[in-house]
């Protein structure tokens, strides 16, 4: 596996996604959606800052997830469907470099999209600061231009890295539609895992409880690194728990990319 080859594949994925109008329209949609929060300010009874922050962060979350799923699930399967995989594999490029490069390319695309949405978000926050009376801004628990907002955005980036890795993994052996469903399933399970922990409140069977507890530790827990609520309300972030959560998710990312490489290495394209 060569870093140079990985870089070239990643750049090709990035260029392809830049040409792809889907991600443009998604980012544009997110900017419009964030802007729309101004229209809602009259209905919020003074909570326009909170609503705007919530809407901005939720939009980034949803759009990032859509990009990760729609592009991620087609990363490998599209090449197989278009039969371009034959010409790629004929080149002096290892299969591992191909898979890792594909993953790195999509992560780069997501990072750029997230950065664009973050800039749009902060521009909106700046406008909000300018247009709000001083006596109201003095009562804000966290300022509109709170640098702390970068924390949930960065942690969203980690969540999207995981979603991309899941999408890539499923993309190596299933159709795009199935890969999409599986990835979405893992995402949902990642936010539900807290309920698996407390399964004993719903059932009496010790076997089911043990299975649920086992699944709780196996399924990546996405909710522990979701700190949007704490940041928006100006509360302290539980860093030790978040730090361990991030480390666990990065380990999952590594494992999934390794598994995707393993599956792809064993696939017979003849």
């Amino acid at each position: 596996m060569s870093l140079n080859a990985i870089g070239k594949v990643a750049l090709a994925v990035f260029k392809e996604s830049v040409r792809d109008r889907v991600s443009y329209s998604l980012v544009l949609f997110s900017v419009v959606l964030m802007g729309a929060s101004f229209l809602m300010s009259r209905l919020t009874a003074g909570q326009d800052l909170k609503v705007t922050k919530d809407l901005g962060l939720a939009t980034m979350n949803a759009i990032g997830l859509l990009i990760a799923i729609f592009i991620g699930t087609g990363l490998v399967s599209k090449e197989v469907e278009r039969r371009s995989i034959y010409s790629i594999l004929a080149k002096p490029l290892s299969r591992s470099s191909f898979v890792v490069g594909k993953y790195a390319g999509l992560v780069l695309t997501l990072a750029v999209n997230l950065a664009l949405m973050t800039i749009a978000f902060y521009v909106m926050m700046l406008y909000m600061t300018w247009t709000t009376d001083d006596w109201i801004t003095q009562g804000w628990r966290a300022p509109a231009l709170d640098p702390g907002l970068l924390v949930p955005i960065a942690l969203l980036g980690v969540q999207l890295m995981l979603a991309t890795a899941v999408a890539l993994f499923f993309s190596t052996f299933s159709s795009p539609l199935l890969a999409m469903l599986f990835t979405l399933g893992v995402w949902v399970a990642g936010h539900f895992s807290g309920d698996l922990r407390n399964f004993q409140t719903a059932v009496d069977s010790p076997a089911a409880i043990a299975l649920a507890r086992g699944l709780y530790y196996i399924v990546p827990n996405l909710s522990v690194i979701d700190v949007k609520n704490e940041i928006v309300h100006g509360k302290a972030v539980p860093w030790p728990s978040v730090g361990i959560g991030v480390a666990a998710l990065l380990a999952y990312v590594g494992a999934l990319v390794a598994a995707a490489t393993l599956v792809f290495n064993r696939r017979d394209f003849k």
Binding site: L43, A45, Q47, V51, D54, V188, H191, S223, N229
Partner: protein
């Protein structure tokens, strides 16, 4: 088919499409006029369980809480403006939903408590629900003195339970970052509960501590009600004085003005005229926005 005939055919299809679409929209509008759909008596709340909603919303619970909060604000506003019977049927369920989806959304709990405890017709008159909402907020953020202050306030203003109000102010005053005046408030409430001056102090502190417009308006409203109570006392005394001077009850403000005890017909702080009854009683005008006034004694 030649190119020109193909284009002519396309134009024909486009024209047909436009005509049919226009017809469809016109027919829909005509049907609507003929048989207007019945408005639901109680607007729908599709998701009834806040806990179920919290699970379904995944990582979008904060945004969902904002949506429920906005629905609560709109519901409260539209019910207050409605000409028919005001029932505020969804107010508590919407606020409960918002505060479960975002347990740190203290404004939803605090302002929601103001909405809920407001007496009929301005609100549903449910201080019990307001207390539930505030206690839920307190359970999620036990160090927030503002919840204790609001619990004290609801007990003081709406339930007239001055001992409980004083207890809540006292508990609040022991919390981190609690203002000094909260301890004073506890003492004043215990000593002079139901006193108008104590209530005025409470509203004034609330006005000064308000960081959202709605709270400010609620405090201004409370202070206006207290001023109206003082005005009514003063006007009743003047009416009594006119009766003493002339030996007859004044039936209009003109009689009081003629006696030199007023310069013009008195208006309450909301701008509505005070009403002078045939039996000499002075009250708020039924149309006044300050109705209903709280029952508070001048002194204890």
């Amino acid at each position: 088919m030649t190119v020109s005939s193909a284009r002519a055919s396309d134009r024909g299809v486009t024209a047909t499409l436009v005509v049919l679409l226009t017809m469809a929209v016109t027919l829909q509008a005509a049907r609507e006029r003929l048989a207007p759909p019945r408005e639901a008596e109680v607007p729908a709340l599709w998701l009834q369980s806040p806990e179920a909603a919290r699970r379904i919303m995944l990582s979008f619970t904060d945004l969902a809480a904002d949506v429920y909060w906005m629905r609560a604000v709109v519901h409260y506003g539209s019910e207050r403006r409605s000409q028919g019977t005001r029932r505020f049927p969804l107010l508590y369920p919407l606020l409960d939903m918002a505060t479960t989806l975002d347990p740190l959304f203290d404004v939803a709990a605090r302002m929601g408590a103001i909405f809920l405890s407001e007496g009929y017709p301005g609100g549903p008159g449910r201080p019990d629900r307001a207390i539930q909402l505030l206690e839920k907020g307190l359970s999620h953020d036990p160090a927030r003195w503002q919840y204790r202050h609001d619990l004290g306030f609801v007990n003081y203003w709406w339930l007239k339970n001055y001992a409980e109000a004083a207890r809540q102010f006292e508990l609040g005053s022991r919390m981190p970052d609690a203002p000094e005046w909260l301890r004073t408030m506890a003492a004043v409430t215990l000593a002079r509960g139901g006193d108008r001056d104590a209530a005025r102090k409470l509203w004034t502190e609330m006005l000064e501590a308000a960081d959202v417009d709605w709270m400010r308006r609620a405090a201004v409203y409370g202070l206006q009600q207290l001023r109206a109570l003082d005005d009514l006392d003063g006007l009743r005394a003047r009416v009594g004085r006119v009766t003493e001077l002339t030996g007859a009850l004044p039936r209009t403000w003109a009689a009081v003005i003629a006696a030199g005890l007023l310069t013009s017909a008195p208006l309450d702080p909301s701008g509505a005229p005070y009403a002078l009854g045939a039996d000499g009683t002075v009250t708020l005008d039924p149309t006044s926005a300050l109705n209903p006034l709280p029952m508070l004694e001048t002194h204890r």
